[in-house]
Symmetry: C2
Subunit: 339 residues, 2 copies
């Protein structure tokens, strides 16, 4: 008798073996009170003996709860979805709730398609993860199940969205650099069309303003989310503003480009110039030379919170609006106090 030879072993089989009716067997297994201890023991033993596991489909049919949720993503690489999924799995408890992962690949009609499929599977709730941290179209108000938007907020304020605190992250980064004694701080970041780029920049500027400082290089260097832009921008920056003593990069990819050029120019990091990234994309940040201080998005926490909010919503307590979750600083070696 191996791991799970439960081909078609049903509650009836258990009941028969225990010498009771299915009704009693059900109650015994589910801890209902109206069954004698001795009977319950007999049933439990029979169930184990047959390695019975209840048919969740049938359970779902009757209880009107499938014990599943859908995770609808558009994030090809799984870079955001996976940590969020893990967090959610964690919070739900994997024996209670399983999750369907569907990737719409940025395609609206594929999304509709998946949505239909998920609904016909009677998921108890939905988590929608966007590909980029900008407003995305709502799935609509008349869905039969609650929906939580994670990472990318919904454009409908009646929905509940969970986002990372990009403004706070920008503040955090600059604050850290200030604490390291840096004063001539530049900011190189990605596509200005991204809300995240704007928010992170704003946080940085705010914090600088509090110290009466402004950005080295005069303004934010917007460009693209790529190493190549990080390199190009750094070259221009060094040209225009050779006395810069810290660079806040809007993403770890950009930071890698920044480090690359600094290294090429034989500029010591963090001695001469401190560098900080954003996202904590492990493979990039931890492998950088030197390992990159960065702002961690806390995505697992985001996933856990999403799961909690969804559970609450399934129990009727649904909220709305945009909830901003804190990010956190992860210090490695690319930043250090001056001297």
């Amino acid at each position: 008798m191996g791991a799970a030879a439960n081909r078609a072993v049903t509650l009836r089989d258990v009941a028969r073996l225990a010498g009771v009716s299915v009704a009693t067997a059900s109650k015994a297994l589910n801890g209902q009170p109206q069954v004698r201890a001795e009977t319950r023991a007999r049933v439990v033993k029979a169930a184990e003996q047959l390695s019975f596991s209840p048919n969740t489909l049938a359970q779902g049919l009757i209880t009107q709860r499938s014990g599943t949720v859908g995770l609808l993503t558009s994030d090809l690489e799984g870079r955001f979805s996976i940590p969020i999924l893990m967090g959610a799995e964690d919070a739900f408890g994997s024996d209670q709730t399983s999750v369907f992962l569907c990737d719409a690949r940025g395609d609206a009609i594929r999304e509709k398609h998946h949505l239909r499929a998920l609904l016909s599977r009677r998921v108890d709730g939905l988590i929608v993860v966007g590909a980029r941290p900008d407003t995305r179209p709502s799935l609509g108000r008349d869905l039969p199940v609650p929906v939580i938007y994670a990472y990318a907020p919904s454009d409908d304020p009646a929905d509940l969205s969970l986002v990372t605190d990009n403004v706070g992250g920008g503040r955090l980064a600059v604050d850290h650099l200030l604490r390291c004694g840096r004063r001539r701080i530049a900011h190189i970041t990605g596509d200005p069309g991204y809300g995240a780029a704007q928010d992170r920049a704003r946080g940085a500027l705010d914090r600088l303003a509090e110290e009466g400082l402004s950005l080295a290089g005069g303004e934010v260097w917007f460009g693209m989310w790529s190493e190549a832009w990080g390199r190009g921008a750094t070259r221009m920056l060094l040209d225009r503003c050779p006395d810069v003593d810290a660079i806040f990069a809007g993403s770890d990819e950009i930071a890698r480009g920044v480090l690359d050029v600094l290294h090429e120019e034989r500029i010591d990091v963090p001695r001469q110039v401190a560098v900080i990234g954003f996202d904590n994309w492990q493979v990039l940040a931890a492998n950088a030379r030197p390992p990159l201080t960065t702002v961690d998005l806390n995505l697992e926490q985001l996933g856990r919170t999403a799961a909690q909010r969804l559970s609450a919503a399934m129990d009727g307590t649904l909220s709305s609006g945009v909830e901003t979750l804190p990010v956190r600083l992860l210090t490695r070696e690319s930043t250090a106090p001056l001297r």
Copy 2:
């Protein structure tokens, strides 16, 4: 009437609206022949009007097919699982089959746990994705559903495993370098405890032997799967063997380290030294300077094949053994003909 206001709209509602019995409604919707065209039209219209979508749980209960499969992974980053998932989704057709993604996080008891949950959800099949391309313990022979092992093969030859062709990949890489006119080829790779490292090296050596060549630097440089090792090994290599004209890196991470040091030493890539990676990990390979020629694992194809084999197995045609799927060369700018 919005996207899907299908709270509890059942086939009975449709039937009532169309003025037929549920039996007829079912047949009409499922394209059964014994229903008049006019009647069918009426039913279809009613279904649309109510935006009816059949309860997959109930369907599964009766047809004994849930239309779901489980994807059991141990790959924290989703780096392998996600492309495989996408391929599988593709091949199944997302309206037919949805997939449960479960991450065991390398923990055997968590895996058992997920397995139980998936079986009680009556998945029609299982795809097991390992974290590294080495043999992993079988789930056992007495499971009620077919299982396909992807990426990491099962240790039981009675199971069907799908793996990438690492030996072939090694050959491919070296072959490409030879075609570029390189003769003094070195191989820097990761942990020798990984089958993948051994296989890739073997492929490379085989191909070299065919030309009567041996490895520059004398032997394979085994170490770790990290940029840091790539850098360290390259420094030693240049020291020992300054006339090397090509480096085959066992992974893109290692290749990044290699490129880094070559760049630092002002050695032109690909003019003086060609570099080739392995894995086609997009963010690393495409952003490298210069963009990295690499061996693509074809993971989506692996996923598609897994889905096909699983479908076949669900229809009773199950096979066993290890099936090796081809990888392919992806040429970017880090390799080029000499001259």
